[in-house]
């Protein structure tokens, strides 16, 4: 698909198509939804099958499940504090969903649902609404003091308040753009270099030898993309915890 007519078509991989044949087409069930469901099933399997033996000395899958759990638990408690345990299920779900989406998207023929801003902004909007509701529920009207730091001169309020409000509203946007842009950039790069392999491979006798170069780049890129996949899920989780910290402690 990529090398049709000797052009580089790096963006068609993000197009949505219907999955599950006519049934999927009837209810607008896309391959993006299909991979979301796959990720959810894989997460549930990792956690249930992994923790089924409840061994004192964990096996591989149990060790993986425990590592994920403890990693996010430490992150949430470290950022939000001890009362942050209430929000652990939320952050853990977000982290696993994004991590699995990024990692599953690296497999050939798979679709990366986190490469769509609609998905990432949806997740970021959930975080934004939740943190705002938590702050309102815990602090009531005092929450609005967040937009005007104590001790600032009152005549500066017309400048400070709009700036703080815009800064607060920019949080979900930066959260979603960061994840979306990273995933799109990585997959475009992979596709471009993969197309180079195909195009250069067709250049007569020397072609296959030159084509080894972009292939090497792609091998390195896959490793780098694995790092980015983990890192972006981590960044999303830690920023969610930071916002929850702000909501719980309000300053």
């Amino acid at each position: 698909m990529a090398a049709e007519g000797n052009t580089i078509d790096a963006l068609s991989q993000f197009q949505l198509t219907h999955a599950l044949g006519p049934v999927g087409a009837a209810v607008n069930f896309t391959q993006s939804n299909a991979f979301m469901l796959t990720a959810a099933v894989v997460i549930v399997l990792i956690m249930t099958v992994g923790m089924a033996p409840r061994a004192i000395v964990p096996g591989r899958l149990q060790a993986a499940a425990e590592t994920f759990y403890e990693f996010i638990e430490n992150l949430v408690i470290g950022q939000v504090g001890h009362e942050g345990k209430r929000y652990f299920p939320f952050v853990f779900t977000l982290f696993m969903f994004i991590l699995l989406g990024n990692v599953i998207g690296l497999f050939p023929y798979a679709f990366t649902y986190t490469s769509h801003i609609a998905v990432t902004f949806g997740l970021a909007a959930v975080v934004f609404v939740l943190t705002t509701l938590v702050a309102l529920a815990l602090h009531g009207k005092k929450f609005f003091g967040y937009f005007f730091p104590e001790g600032a001169p009152v005549w500066l309020a017309p400048i400070i308040v709009p700036v703080e409000v815009v800064s607060y509203l920019s949080r979900p946007i930066s959260l979603s753009i960061r994840l979306f842009a990273n995933m799109v950039a990585g997959h475009v790069l992979l596709k471009v270099f993969a197309t180079f392999v195909v195009l250069l491979g067709g250049l007569g006798i020397v072609g296959p030898f030159i084509a080894v170069l972009p292939l090497t780049v792609n091998v390195l890129l896959i490793g780098f993309e694995l790092l980015v996949a983990f890192l972006q899920a981590y960044v999303f989780a830690i920023l969610t915890s930071v916002y929850l910290h702000d909501a719980v402690h309000l300053h």
């Binding site: 700036v163 815009v166 946007i173 930066s174 960061r178 960044v235 300053h251």
Partner: protein, 102 residues
């Protein structure tokens, strides 16, 4: 027990030799999320912060304009406010979280 103390001592020395302890400390003290400081990554994060604040500001301005029918003016005002908020976001990115704002 003595054996374990010995091991811990050797582990500490080895970590010190490889510079692992120092790395851990540097990563903890850095930025908002405690990410390791890489110039490119910090630059990208700052860029995203500025752009998203601009989008938020311009979006709010445009919406209020559409509501009140005063098209370019509030859009321009909130675009500027978005720019200020972007600078504020970057400033917060580089100030340590605790202590900076009480």
């Amino acid at each position: 027990m003595n054996e374990r103390d010995d091991f811990n001592e050797r582990l500490r020395k080895a970590r010190h030799r490889q510079g692992l302890d120092q790395n851990a400390r540097g990563a903890d003290g850095e930025g908002q999320g405690g990410l390791p400081a890489s110039a490119l990554r910090i630059g990208l994060r700052a860029g995203v912060e500025v752009v998203s604040a601009l989008i938020a500001g311009a979006g709010i301005g445009w919406l209020i304009d559409r509501w009140l029918g005063t098209f370019p003016w509030l859009f321009m005002l909130f675009f500027a406010i978005g720019g200020v908020a972007g600078v504020l976001n970057v400033y917060r990115l580089f100030t340590p979280r605790k202590g900076a704002r009480k």
